[in-house]
Symmetry: C2
Subunit: 309 residues, 2 copies
């Protein structure tokens, strides 16, 4: 670890951002806006164009984007893609004694493995998954949870401050923050299932969908998840996806794997898996994950009409 980074100034520090998707793009843009010298790489190069226009540099490969001993932030779609990037594509080796700030939603065990990998190259690893959808990312309003070594947290602090509105700490275990992230996504989808069943019961009983979600969003459930998802569910605006149903399936499977490893029966997680499986079977993997509501309504003999992707 290069100690000159320990006092990371906002201006001039070179950082690499890998994974310019619906979340990565606005997150990287916040770093550019905050004055960091950002180099980006994405498998689909066209996704990088707006960032280049804003002042970022685009590399021709993942490894080429990396500065030895520097800082790499990653936001990839799943464990396999991230692991391939860090190993087969040589990012961990080239980064060497630098810092990997790992922000994807991945399994706790994958985080621990990648942490050990970077330490083997003389570097550090910080788990820093995020909560919030693309609109929140575009405003630097994500909620970040972190875990890992203290030095890594100090080094990453100004970067995370540019990306998120708060950073909650969960200790040294590099897997801890990812487990918190999985718990959060599990709780969110549980709320969506509960809202979907309640909305179906209410609608078949003659109660207005919008009146119902609006009431709860202004009273006992006056928080972002119930307000934002309540609006989506009431109007059935499942496309474009803020978070794709297929990605939700990935996360629920990670929850189930974590639960099995820890020895924790989670019947609600199993119910959500069944719900997502039925939704995928109906070809809804690219819709927003709130689209599980369609399957709930159909199970009650209704014929809901969603917006199509």
């Amino acid at each position: 670890m290069n100690d000159t980074h320990a006092t990371s100034a906002k201006n001039g520090t070179s950082v690499t951002f890998l994974g310019i998707g619906s979340m990565g793009a606005p997150m990287a843009l916040q770093l550019v806006k905050a004055g960091f010298d950002v180099t980006v790489y994405n498998r689909s190069a066209d996704k990088c164009a707006p960032l280049v226009a804003a002042g970022a540099r685009m590399a021709g490969s993942a490894a080429e984007a990396v500065t030895p001993g520097g800082i790499v932030l990653t936001m990839l779609s799943n464990d396999a893609v991230l692991t391939d990037l860090m190993t087969t594509q040589g990012v961990a080796e080239k980064l060497g004694g630098g810092l990997h700030v790992s922000m994807s939603t991945i399994a706790a065990d994958t985080a621990r493995t990648l942490s050990t990998l970077q330490q083997g190259h003389g570097g550090q690893y910080l788990a820093a998954p995020v909560f919030g959808r693309p609109a929140a990312a575009a405003e630097g309003k994500l909620w970040i949870c972190q875990s890992g070594a203290a030095a890594a947290k100090t080094l990453a602090q100004p970067l995370l401050a540019a990306i998120g509105q708060s950073v909650a700490d969960f200790g040294d275990d590099p897997g801890a923050a990812n487990l918190v992230k999985l718990c959060g996504n599990f709780m969110i989808l549980s709320a969506v299932e509960a809202m979907s069943e309640a909305l179906t019961l209410a609608e078949k009983s003659g109660i207005d969908r919008t009146a119902l979600t609006s009431f709860f969003g202004q009273s006992i459930f006056s928080c972002p998840i119930y307000q934002n998802y309540g609006r989506i569910l009431a109007a059935r605006t499942y496309a474009p996806a803020g978070f794709a149903l297929a990605l939700g399936m990935k996360d629920v499977k990670l929850v189930q794997a974590s639960a099995e490893a820890a020895g924790v029966p989670m019947p609600l997680a199993n119910l959500l898996h069944e719900r997502l499986l039925g939704s995928m079977a109906k070809g809804r993997g690219a819709l927003d994950w709130t689209a599980i509501e369609l399957t709930v309504a159909e199970s009650a003999g209704m014929t809901p009409v969603p917006l199509q992707p």
Copy 2:
């Protein structure tokens, strides 16, 4: 209906409050404080003492507490107790052309039946169930949802304004507001189940319970349910009960009956029923309904230590 009530002044109007329990007592007290002339009755007379000290009058029976053509508010523990009060104990008949403001959590069909009953005596019925625990009731901060005839809403408005911080309207059907109430309790207990499974997974994985619930309560779930219940779950303070687990079982059974009547499969409601059933089997009916968490933790081989009632 006595039209002189249509302009209900806060001072001097005589009202009757039946059902002085953990919720009814603070609700009735708000009416006394707002200047209404309140007469109360409860099966256990000792519950009324603090209200009498505050200026309420206590009647010797439910019917004796009622003024013909006046206003009666009821807050009873279940459908059977309320129905017995209105029919066998003669409240509906004595109330006659007056208004019954029915605030208990009961089935939509029971509400419709009681509405028809009061109309048969020349009077009116307003469904006005509430959200919030005793502490919220003591501050006049309940959230009320109402449904019924427009004239009944006008007449009850100053009373509901003294009891709640807001009143959401769900139309003419006297059963609608009760269905909304049941949907809300279903969504709350769903959130408790989700938090319980997540907390068990987190704790067995070495993550601090309070850190987890605190993070979610300050970010994506920054609303009363997750904040208040998160604190209870993290510390396992299941006694004294704010809302008894046995009453939660009553509500989930009402949800299931409504779902069957409407033709809506609700697998999450069924899961909650199983969870409550197992908790009741372990003798936890008098604990707060968040105590379902103990059963979740035990299912994972843990030996949680709660406060005892």
